[in-house]
Symmetry: C2
Subunit: 342 residues, 2 copies
DNA sequence: CTGAAAGCGCTTACAG
DNA sequence: CTGAAAGCGCTTACAG
């Protein structure tokens, strides 16, 4: 493991010159560059990133803050972790996985060690104190998810509004008019006010009203049992219902079973559309569920790109904040069909 | 953000003394310690981890190497990531998520920058060249999973042998004798030779033989469709079969459906035991699947502990290598029952 | 128990 | 285009 000094000596130049060719920070004559490059390969030089970090005050490390206590992070989270790490790696950065489980003071302790240049924040709520802390600490960050007021928040998020709207377009296009929504019951948990739920429910209600249709929202417990109960609740609220959207992967199958138990075959009598899911998750059911696929990979990639762009200053101080919204993409499978004739 | 020097000046001591109280590396008189501590809190001192890393040649960062191209990492992986990161954090370390997608040379490039003190290696195959590279590079590491020859490999892994054995004990205890095994078909993929599959199948065959029973192994494609086909294949191989183990979460439900289609009710006529799964995954099916739960959380925690123990030298040079094996834990639910009377 | 000082391996004005 | 030198903020023998 040769040092930069050794390379310099070997090439007969100053250490500054070596630094310049390593980083491309300054013009170096082709001849010198050649000698330095040769010395580097000969000695097997590898830039010490810690020394560079200390001298340049940039570690090229970004942190992905995730809630340690929420062991309910879904399958999208894994895709997200991996995509974020891969994109960071491509851009010459490293991604640290940072569990945050206590109050906002912990955040300061963590971030002030000088280890990270910036932060990606996961699982944002509509009102999130961590955002304020981050701003106070003047740490560059990008949020995955949006708070209620989004004006001066740099974020990347699923466009739940468009997703729900398009989901309803799809179902009404199939002739359905009595369409329910099944979402997780978060009342009283630490995740109350979780953006995806709030926005989806609100958009659903608004959009149904705009279409002159009657909204029916059912809250759902965990697993297949929760889904089965949701089926019962749905039909109790409206026995003539012919379709529903559900935003809860682990209960979708139970919902289908529950509908069957209530005498509704899927998709012949009743259509089920799984929101913010994936083709793979849908394929574990039978019939395979029609899904609106969450863009977890794109989100992870874009979040990291947006953050690093801000860090590298390509986006100037006065550059517009990143506001990226990506809808889920419809994947048709076997759980949706034309509305039954009346 | 006060520096150590500023704290020293403020407390009227040398910077060395401040370092000693910060790190507890040397005896300091109570009076001086008191003054230093006061100065630290007053100035809001926070140790710069990068400077410490450069001076001490220890970054307190460990890397979790995951295969970037394998987008088939299961739900256990997420638990694993989070647990590893949390435990590292508890022990004063940071966990970098490191995608490795190309050849073993990349490994050298990545690790020689001096950023990481040690490595946790995921998704180990029976013959894994990365292990050899790591040993060559003299990077301290712990593997999740085992190679074929385990003698000088520091590892933490699921005890698939015990898991399969206990699964068979459980099923035979219920009176089953004709018991199949459904596993993923990895032939021809980059994951061929993947430890969990190889060991599970081998143990199953051996154990069945030892019990005087006839083994039936069926390879299974993705999703519910794969599971449904597996049901057909199972019964084609042995129409009198009354139970099976399956190591493939996403196909377990399809398997149950396929059995039903073949006229076998679960669990009355046929028992299904899902291996290396989780209670939550089992609960998405109906009936809820009896599972052998993968100890993802424990594995992540133990892997990091073992690695850090080696790094901190608590385990001396000649200390025995960590060889940790944890079996999956049985969780009884609704997919298993006493064998039907003949 | 405490301090002076060298050193970790780079980057970056500054000067030429 | 190239170099001498200060400095990033710590740790750690060494001496007393």
């Amino acid at each position: 493991m040769a040092t930069m000094q050794e390379v310099a000596t070997h090439a007969g130049v100053s250490i500054a010159t070596v630094s310049f060719v390593v980083n491309g920070t300054k013009r170096v004559s082709p001849a010198t560059r050649e000698r330095v490059t040769a010395a580097m390969t000969e000695l097997g030089f590898r830039n010490n990133v810690v020394a560079r970090a200390l001298a340049s005050k940039r570690t090229r490390i970004i942190a992905l803050l995730f809630p340690a206590l929420e062991h309910r992070l879904g399958g999208t989270a894994l895709t997200f972790f991996m995509s974020a790490a891969s994109r960071a790696s491509d851009l010459g950065y490293h991604l640290i996985l940072w569990p945050v489980d206590t109050g906002p003071d912990e955040l300061r302790d963590l971030l002030s060690g000088g280890l990270v240049d910036g932060v990606v924040l996961m699982e944002v709520k509509m009102h999130d104190t961590r955002i304020d802390r981050l701003a106070e600490l003047r740490v560059p960050f990008v949020a995955i998810g949006r708070t209620a007021d989004v004006d001066d928040l740099p974020f990347v998020d699923i466009d739940f509004e468009t997703t729900v709207e398009e989901g309803l377009d799809y179902l009404t296009g199939l002739g359905h008019e009595r369409i329910g929504l099944v979402i997780e019951d978060l009342e009283g948990t630490s995740m109350a006010g979780y953006g995806p739920h709030v926005r989806s429910e609100r958009t659903y209600r608004d959009s149904m009203a705009r279409r002159g249709l009657e909204p029916v929202v059912v809250f759902c417990g965990p697993g297949a049992a929760g889904g089965r109960q949701a089926a019962t609740d749905l039909l109790a609220a409206d026995p003539a219902m012919t379709a529903t959207m559900i935003m809860k992967d682990d209960s979708a199958f139970g919902l289908v079973r529950g509908l069957l138990a209530e005498g509704r075959r899927v998709p012949d009598d009743f259509s089920v559309l799984s929101l913010s899911s994936s083709t793979e998750a849908g394929a574990t059911s039978e019939p395979a569920l029609t899904t609106m696929n969450a863009p977890g990979h794109e989100l992870g990639t874009l979040a990291v790109e947006a953050l690093i762009e801000r860090l590298d200053g390509k986006a100037g101080q006065d550059a517009p904040l990143p506001h990226v919204l990506l809808p889920c993409i419809l994947h048709e499978a076997g759980s949706t069909a034309a509305a039954p004739a009346r």
